[in-house]
Amino acid sequence: MAEKNGGGAETFLRIEHVSKIFGDFRALNDISFDIHDGEFVCFLGPSGCGKTTLLRCIAGLEFQTQGSIHQCGVDISWLPPSKRDFGIVFQSYALFPNLTVTDNVAYGLINKKLAKSHIEERVAGLLSLVDLTLHAHKYPSQLSGGEQQRVALVRALAISPGLLLLDEPLSALDAKVRAHLRREIRELQKSLGVTTVMVTHDQEEAQTMADRIFVMSHGRLEQTGTPNQIYDAPASPFVADFIGVMNFIPVTVTGKSRVRCERLSLDCETDGFAVGTRLNGAIRPEDIVVLNDSEGGVNAIDAVIQEVEFLGSYVRLYLRCAEIGDHELRADVPKSAARRLAIEPDRRVRIRIPPESIRLYRDES
């Protein structure tokens, strides 16, 4: 199967105005989007944002209250799961405990009335694909979590579904296994070209695996875009805060390309906001530059280091600036730079906030 990825491809799954209401609770609120053929999409959001409900609607395990779902141009909105075309992997794996790995993987094949030899061949092929050939005759309880997850994955893929649904497939695993499986799943998905939707609350997982991320919050779709787009140009303070780390400071527009926070005036792109508008200014910690004492320039300010956190390859500084009052800023500095600048608590430093790194959002509160 040819590799087909990302934009420009044909629409595979189309969700239109889907809402789901449980009693008084709106789990999904008028959601619409298209997913292209062969794409890997992540629904990302905090727990309770509706991402799992949306996945279950796509699978037919729940029915939307309103709206429609089309797969390959066919209206599947009201079809039961057995009449839809998908494979699914759950967080709990849901492997049948009384069946061996082989029988689990063959579970959906036997029903297709294929020749026994054909089934055996296919199961063996699938197991070797995920390096489980040696475990073929074991029971699920004899496997590690990561191995069980791989069995669940090939069991779902065995029937060659057009759509693969992954419901928090990695969250029950420890960090190392998770990182390894991320790549394995991604490579498998690419080589098979199967359109995939994964639900996760782990932004790192979404960023490393997805072609496109759909950020959700309170039953709404907050933003869709490639991992880079989502990170570099978050469409709302929620997305900005949820993806990565973000400093927020309240600002007021004071002129064209000029804002003020407390007593501090900063240069930044004001995107046509009127003078006097109160906004949220967002700055990524890694965009803040710690300068040598003598350096100056645009948006350079004095700060005192409150605390230093070592985070492996970089150092996170908690900074206070007299001019912006109580608002603390976080700045990430590579370890080498930290050493060079003799970073330590209580030290005064000069920092610079590049104008292009400040993003402005309407105050939502």
Binding site: C72, I88, N98, L99
Partner: protein, 568 residues
């Protein structure tokens, strides 16, 4: 693939149903129908009948007025409440201490004592009463211990009731006590809490719901029991024996229905309160709880060993005396041993009664288990049909609130009605099976539901995504995984079908009379030794089946061990 979906939002319509949905709907209809015929309609008929006179004409509350104006009948309510209340108090204390010994001390021989606690389950309640007659009756061995009081009456009813309800109370309380979080005790110890305070602030609150549940269960068991007061009650009338006298003795079905209502209402109330209270028990024990490990305490361990030994000796003394009674030629004049009591050579009795019991118990176990498990599965697992599943679930819980005698009498009213198309069932083995399955449905259902709840909820979703029909997954995965629970349900149904009297006493025919009913009748005729012998046959069968069950479970678990152990 150029076809793009139309942009317009389609109007809301019903989801398409697949085969599985229809299977589930069909099953729900079947179960609804079963409960309608086996429970709801008969009870409805009984309620109706309580407002009718002997000829079947409507007379309003006349029966009730007559009932409450007849001191002899009305007195039975007091008597029933008294023996039930006293028996419950005693058995809860005894069972709590016994359960405490098994869960909270380092007493030796715990396994043995646990098995002994369940011995009374292997025989009908009337057998305990017969044994007491041999111990304390007019010609009893230890008659003097009663100091001039008679065993025939409240004393005998209470003692026999305590013995036969002991396993029920013990099971519930020991389950509650074993579900304790050891970390609470460690925290209390770290805070230097006194033992007494630990008991009142941790142990008792933790076991609270178990105690409440056990209290209600035992109270209802004694309150509605027929076998014990029939054999040892003497002139001391209780509601259960009143129903029997009104219906069998005087053929006064209307009044029988009234007494049944008087018996049914407290039972339903107790059931409702118990459900309400235990519903609040959720999440008392978090999944991260650490089981409590008792520490050695010489004084406590020894005193509990003594206590449990005494209880065990009493339990065995009752069974032993029953066995002895069954073998003695002519108590108390000729104590030579004989097997003559097992010949049952009088009109209307015989080994056929015992064979009937075996047939009844086997059918009840097989049909009942299949019915209960499929019913619990349909209620617990599939998607959709929410309303239907809730109705069936409610109906499955209802039988626990209906005393066996009431169920039996209701069946007479319903199945013996000339206009009933199911009338052909009357007097057959089928109606005995149906009533027994219904009578013991709830506990079996809860066992099955618990086992099913422990299974991953997504098995059905995975199967649907793999296009495997529901019934296939049911047989390939659900049934094998739940096999231990299925065996437990079948043995529960078998033992209860062997030992129950209450519903049978109204529903047997000359060809379907079962051993427990035969024992009651022989006792009534004064053939007490034969009654004991007949009841002992039940015990032998129960022990045999219990051992077979043990072997089957062991073998099964060994076979299933492969997918339960972690190491390869």
């Amino acid at each position: 693939m150029s076809a793009v979906a139309p942009a317009a939002v389609p109007a809301r319509r019903k989801s398409v149903l697949d085969v599985d949905d229809w299977v589930v709907r069909g099953a729900l209809v079947v179960f609804g129908g079963f409960f309608l015929v086996a429970l709801v309609m008969p009870l409805f008929m009984m309620v109706t009948r309580s407002f009718q006179d002997i000829r079947g004409d409507f007379i309003g509350f006349a029966n009730y007025i007559l009932y409450f104006q007849t001191p002899a009948l009305f007195q039975s309510i007091n008597n029933s409440l008294f023996v039930a209340g006293l028996s419950t108090t005693i058995v809860i204390v005894l069972a709590y201490a016994y359960a405490h010994a098994l869960t909270r001390t380092r007493m030796p021989f715990k396994g043995f004592f646990r098995v002994m606690a369940f011995v009374p389950l292997l025989s009908p309640s009337l057998l305990k009463a017969i044994a007491l007659v041999y111990w304390f009756g007019n010609q009893g061995v230890l008659k003097e211990l009663l100091m001039g009081n008679t065993i025939y009456g409240p004393i005998g009813i209470v003692i026999a009731s305590v013995i036969w309800t002991f396993p029920h109370a013990f099971l519930i309380i020991s389950t509650a006590l074993s579900l304790s979080d050891g970390r609470l005790y460690e925290a209390a110890e770290a805070l230097k809490t006194s033992r007494l305070r630990v008991f009142f602030t941790i142990t008792l609150p933790g076991a609270r719901y178990g105690l409440i549940s056990a209290t209600f269960v035992v109270f209802i068991l004694v309150f509605t029991d027929f076998g014990v007061p029939k054999v040892i009650g003497g002139n001391y009338n209780v509601l259960a024996t009143d129903i029997y006298k009104e219906v069998v003795g005087q053929q006064n079905f209307g009044m029988g229905a009234v007494v049944s209502m008087v018996l049914l209402i407290p039972a339903v109330l107790a059931f409702a309160i118990d459900r309400f209270v235990t519903r609040r028990q959720v999440a008392l024990l978090s999944s991260r709880a650490v089981p409590y490990e008792p520490k050695p305490n010489r004084w406590a361990d020894v005193s509990m060993l003594v206590y449990c030994s005494i209880v065990t000796i009493l339990i065995l003394a009752v069974l032993g005396m029953a066995q002895y009674a069954a073998l003695v030629k002519l108590w108390p004049y000729n104590l030579s041993l004989t097997l003559e009591n097992f010949y049952f050579e009088f009109e209307g009795f015989g080994w056929s009664n015992f064979y009937n019991s075996l047939i009844l118990a086997s059918f009840t176990a097989v049909i009942g288990t299949a019915l209960v498990f499929v019913g619990a599965y349909v209620v617990e697992k599939p998607r959709g049909s929410v309303a239907g599943r809730q109705v069936v679930q409610f109906l499955a819980l209802l039988p626990l609130a209906v005393p066996g005698l009431v169920l039996g009498l209701s069946y007479i009213f319903f199945f013996n009605h000339p206009a009933n198309p199911f009338g052909f069932l009357y007097g057959t083995m089928a109606i005995l099976v149906m009533s027994t399955v219904t009578h013991f449905y709830t506990v079996s259902h809860l066992t099955a539901a618990t086992a099913l709840k422990q299974m991953d909820n997504e098995f059905e979703s995975v199967s649907a995504s793999l296009k495997v029909p529901l019934h296939r997954s049911f047989f390939r995965v659900t049934v094998p995984v739940c096999m231990p629970a299925i065996l437990d349900i079948s043995i529960y149904l078998f033992l209860n079908a062997m030992t129950t009297v209450s519903a049978m006493i109204f529903l047997y025919s000359s060809t379907t009379k079962v051993a427990s009913v035969a024992a009651i009748h022989m006792d009534e005729l004064g053939e007490v030794a034969s009654a004991a012998a007949m009841a002992m046959l039940i015990v032998y069968a129960c022990i045999t089946v219990r051992l077979l069950h043990l072997l089957a479970t062991r073998g099964l678990l060994r076979r299933l061990q492969a997918w339960r152990t972690r190491d390869a």
